[in-house]
Symmetry: C2
Subunit: 356 residues, 2 copies
DNA sequence: GTGAAAGCGCTAACAC
DNA sequence: GTGTTAGCGCTTTCAC
């Protein structure tokens, strides 16, 4: 039996390891004395095939450990059962939680997830999207890099009929689905919180003014300040997406005489950098300065002092973005263009904006 | 010109959006009155093709935004320029930094990275690997799930000649490359550190005894204790990979009368859970209890109190694992079986093991 | 230097 | 209910 098996199924393989090549439909056909087409239909549970044949085929397939060649199917179907996730970085609590949400949906749908990191670099982002123009992926989930002022590469992709859903960092000029949090309102909340705590000179640490999320968070900041009766001496500090540069800029600001008494960190990284600098400069949080930041750190409560945060629903944002994308993939008539999902962030008050 | 272009190149497309379909080799051939074969060769910079023709082909390709169909090439080449990364989770500082390292290498090599999360679930892990048996990926980087006592699925994959490199959580029974840190020594260092600080009753928080990394870290713990002259009352606490369960187990232990005076967290999560519980129970770190943990938290220094860590070279582990894998992909004679890379962790002393 | 043709593994008309 | 065949887009002999 073993020899028969070897001859009929693996007899044509030139290799010293009979396990090294995978079994194909052709092999099943030969073994069962059926045609290739019949096997294919049986494997795809076609109504044309008799139950008996189906069973024989499936049994042999299982026995020989048959798995279809994904690229052959993709070539025929013109679909890859694969989606791409394009994001600035992965070593970030927001993005890693978002990936989690995306992966959960993809796994459930039997889809594969390609991951691409832009490291905030527009050129990389362009190269990555360009590669999607020929069917490598059925759809794309994306959070744009902070350098992205240009967006032709995204338009190009959309013109190739590749469904695209933005999450978190969106591009408002592009007419497609986006899943975000209520950045403006959250920025407003954070700032109002500091004002209520008595801050008169709040610094809004911006990362990059081009970025949709920063723009909106900053608008919220400005709205809160404008509405506030007691005019203070608030300002925006333009930091950088480079950690080193941001460190220098913030340190310089905190070393001046007229320091702020409150800080809104528009992204997590800026808050942790600020903490480190306050330690160095022996500035006391919250007595010398209060801090609140957009952050998904699960251990915000364990920091010294615990960090008040605007916490974004990262997992949910990823999950909902993926769900929208799969809607579009499953129902070609589904119109992504009109979809705009906003999932609220929550303010969690902790000691970094406390009284003492 | 535009009309001519439309007719010759896109004239055969039945669609209301002329941008919706991608241009193929066939289209280039028609436009230039050359054969498909010539175009293919020109695009691949074959020596057979005249410089003049090459240039004309490349120019037109650029003009029409030609990109090759990746699945057609994969089908022919029997290689996908894609690797898979299989790991327990992504919302973890170690793994996200490792992904960073992997992605850096892959991007440089022009490879694509598929990501799969097992969520510590053996069944998922098996299903994922099974899908790799037919050429979906050229190679696999993997950190096994804590449930994985069985390993036939991994053996199966290796038998299909798919290069596999383990990183961090390896499987010693499988004869293939692995990139790890010096877990035993690190466990020894951590424990010795606590002993030096005067701890007499150290609890080693284990996640899962099956796991290679936990086993070795625990061995280091036991070695340190055995070597120590003053016999103490040290012990191992078997926690769980489920966060909730771990929380209950640790809380129960810390609520007892005879609490430990020192803790080694074998993974980051267990340390942060312990911090939270100490807060709840009003246990003072380091005076009531000292803590050191395996952790890659970049903000370990900002915790309250700052956390002494065994910090693993996560990025480097990912990077080196990827480099090994590409060695194997580029040189088929390269033998992964003998490769065993150990990159040391470093102990960083902070306040959680301090005197006060 | 260029082209015709076979084929990677699979699917889907269309015969029978 | 099963088989024949064409073809997805690309590469690669082998002719010319």
């Amino acid at each position: 039996m073993t020899i028969f098996f070897y001859e009929t199924v693996f007899g044509n393989f030139r290799t010293n390891n009979i396990f090294s090549m995978s079994v194909k439909i052709k092999d099943l056909a030969k073994e069962l004395h059926l045609s290739i087409a019949t096997i294919s239909k049986a494997l795809n549970d076609s109504y044309e095939i008799s139950p008996d044949t189906k069973q024989r085929v499936l049994e042999l397939a299982k026995k020989l450990n048959y798995t279809p060649n994904p690229y052959a199917s993709s070539l025929r179907h013109k679909s890859s059962k694969t989606i791409a996730v394009v994001l600035p970085e992965v070593a970030d609590t927001f993005f890693s939680q978002a990936i989690n949400g995306i992966e959960a949906v993809a796994q459930e749908k039997g889809f594969h997830v390609l991951i691409y990191l832009t490291h905030e670099n527009l050129l990389k982002e362009q190269a990555i999207l360009k590669d999607f123009q020929n069917g490598r992926v059925d759809g794309v989930l994306m959070s744009i890099s902070s350098q992205s002022d240009a967006n032709e590469h995204i338009v190009d992709l959309c013109n190739h009929n590749t469904p695209l859903v933005f999450f978190d960092r969106v591009c408002d000029d592009i007419h497609t689905a986006m899943v975000q949090t209520d950045d403006l309102h959250a920025g407003y909340l954070a700032t109002t919180h500091l004002l209520k705590k008595g801050c008169r000179k709040i610094a809004f640490l911006s990362m990059n003014k081009n970025l949709s999320i920063i723009k909106k968070r900053m608008e919220g900041f400005e709205k809160a300040i404008t509405e506030n009766e007691n005019k203070g001496d608030h300002f925006v500090l333009e930091c950088s997406s480079s950690e080193e540069t941001a460190y220098e800029i913030i340190k310089k600001m905190l070393s001046r005489n007229k320091k702020p008494d409150g800080i809104v960190g528009s992204v997590e990284k800026l808050a942790t950098i600020t903490y480190a600098i306050c330690n160095e400069l022996h500035l006391k949080i919250p007595s010398d300065m209060k801090i609140i930041a957009f952050s998904n750190l699960q251990i915000a409560g364990l920091l010294n002092p615990s960090l008040s945060t605007i916490t974004q629903p990262a997992f949910e944002i990823g999950r909902r973005a993926a769900i929208l994308l799969f809607h579009a993939l499953e129902k070609p008539r589904f119109n992504l263009k009109e979809e705009r999902l906003v999932i609220p962030s929550v303010l969690i008050e902790r000691d970094s904006t406390g009284q003492k």
